[in-house]
């Protein structure tokens, strides 16, 4: 005769290791977050929303087999599973043993007993059902998950330029759920932009680019709070505009603003995801002040007019800013969620005609005019004072 459900669970419990919440509590205090013990919550999302053991990873039991390797890749890792009362976690422990996990325990009494004992409970911020659906494909990626998605929703990212690079970056960052996207551009949509600036549309020709970009982003994802700056970034407004953003996406089309941005972002310690394009060539790097080189470490002085074609009218393959802008968006998401290896101290060159990528090392310059000094050594009087880059650009034509 087949056992009842309750009998089956009893049998399973006799075959696995169980641990009292007091021992888990003590082990967690001892490990002090060093990762020696992995706490896995196997309950459903609605239960997790009401509170979890601090530091626990959520892997619903229904997805245990497919997701546990992302959450706990090392099968020799000490794993403690819990659910509400200790039944589902016992079944899950049996499953993990069958998957080859060597040191698995199920916490008796589950989260209910943990809470009754008065131990710490973390109540996670939760996504709405609509957000869980919208970002479901992010949730399934272990490197992002619910925690990473929350970071994206909390992030404030400033896009400089709603042009070739800014268009794809803005669309994908809005789609990814970046909570606040600032966008700086003083231009209006022109017919000649539409070969590459895909955030704009033919019926919005003549509309300010910040308004056109806002409309497209809001239509794609109403979660996003769009902050518009219909102005040209200059020494008088840069500190005010960029302060408070977590990251800046540099897609501007001229050297003066790139140097100005570098100096201001180093002073405010805001990382810049920088890309530039010309013809069939693109460059990409992440300038994270004091963690890596800054733009001036790479390019201490701007090139003279004849080697600075960006100040004049130049052609570009329409899809090239798409490629480079999306690489920028990718770096933003990595930086916000803390996943992967960001392109800090590395310069990526893309040459579309040859379909080649080249990676070069970028070192911090110990004599860098800007980032060799700590920002706090720069006096208030110096803040916001920059060389006359406008004269340079005028000379470059």
């Amino acid at each position: 005769m087949s056992p009842s459900g309750a009998e089956f669970i009893r049998q399973i419990k006799s075959q696995i290791s169980q641990v009292d919440p007091s021992e888990v509590h003590a082990a967690l205090a001892q490990s002090n977050g060093n990762g020696s013990i992995a706490i896995v919550d196997v309950r459903e999302s609605e239960e997790v929303a009401r509170g979890v053991i601090p530091g626990a990873t959520h892997v619903p039991r229904g997805y245990l087999e497919s997701r546990i390797e992302g959450a706990v890749p090392d099968r020799s890792q000490h794993v403690v599973l819990y659910c509400a009362s200790g039944n589902r976690s016992a079944l899950a422990a049996k499953t993990l043993e069958q998957l080859g996990y060597e040191n698995v325990e199920s916490m008796t009494g589950g989260f209910t007993l943990w809470k009754d004992r008065g131990y710490d409970v973390h109540v996670p911020r939760t996504l709405t059902p609509e957000q869980r659906e919208r970002y479901s494909r992010h949730m399934l990626v272990p490197e992002i998950g619910a925690e990473g998605q929350q970071k994206l929703l909390d992030a404030k990212v400033l896009l400089l330029g709603a042009g070739g690079l800014g268009s794809p970056a803005a669309l994908y960052l809005a789609a990814a759920g970046i909570g606040t996207i600032g966008i700086v551009d003083d231009d209006v949509v022109d017919l000649s932009n539409l070969q590459r600036q895909v955030i704009h549309t033919t019926d919005r020709i003549g509309v300010p680019k910040v308004d056109s970009a806002e409309q497209a982003m809001k239509e794609l994802n109403p979660d996003v709070d769009v902050v518009k700056y219909q102005t040209r970034l200059d020494a008088s407004n840069i500190m005010e505009i960029i302060e408070g953003y977590d990251l800046i996406v540099d897609g501007v089309d001229n050297f003066p603003t790139r140097y100005l941005l570098n100096d201001a972002s180093v002073r405010l310690r805001i990382p810049v995801v920088s890309a530039s394009i010309l013809g069939f060539d693109g460059q990409l790097s992440v300038f994270a002040p004091y963690d890596g080189p800054c733009y001036r470490c790479l390019y201490p002085v701007p090139p003279p007019a004849e080697l600075a074609p960006s100040c004049g009218a130049n052609g570009v393959l329409g899809v090239l800013p798409g490629t480079m802008g999306l690489l920028q968006a990718t770096e933003v998401i990595k930086l916000v969620t803390g996943s992967g290896e960001p392109l800090i101290g590395r310069l990526l060159l893309y040459e579309a005609l040859g379909a080649t990528f080249t990676e070069l090392k970028v070192r911090r310059d110990p004599e860098c005019a800007i980032c060799s000094r700590p920002p706090e050594e720069i006096s208030e009087e110096e803040m916001g004072v920059f060389p006359d880059y406008e004269a340079f650009c005028a000379a470059a034509g």
């Binding site: 089309d253 050297f255 394009i277 060539d281 390019y299 080249t358 070069l360 090392k361 070192r363």
Partner: protein
Amino acid sequence: MATVRIPPVLRPSVGGAKEVDAAGDNVGDVLRALADEHPATQSQLFSDGGDLNRYVNVYLNDEDVRVLDGLETPVGGADVLVILPAMAGG
């Protein structure tokens, strides 16, 4: 012969090529050979005093020659020199 990668802004000065071969035992020799062959690159690469212009980055394979031995950095036949100017297009 080392391979020298030519950036877009210098390609008109070398007849449109993306890469050229140039002979030399060190970075300076290779670049001077390039400038001899394509005189239009001379003033773009070198200052009047013969130093590399500060706004031109040169990489030996993936490393900036300034953190190596600059123009004196030895170059082998299989090496690639990348000439890299800043670009500002967006």
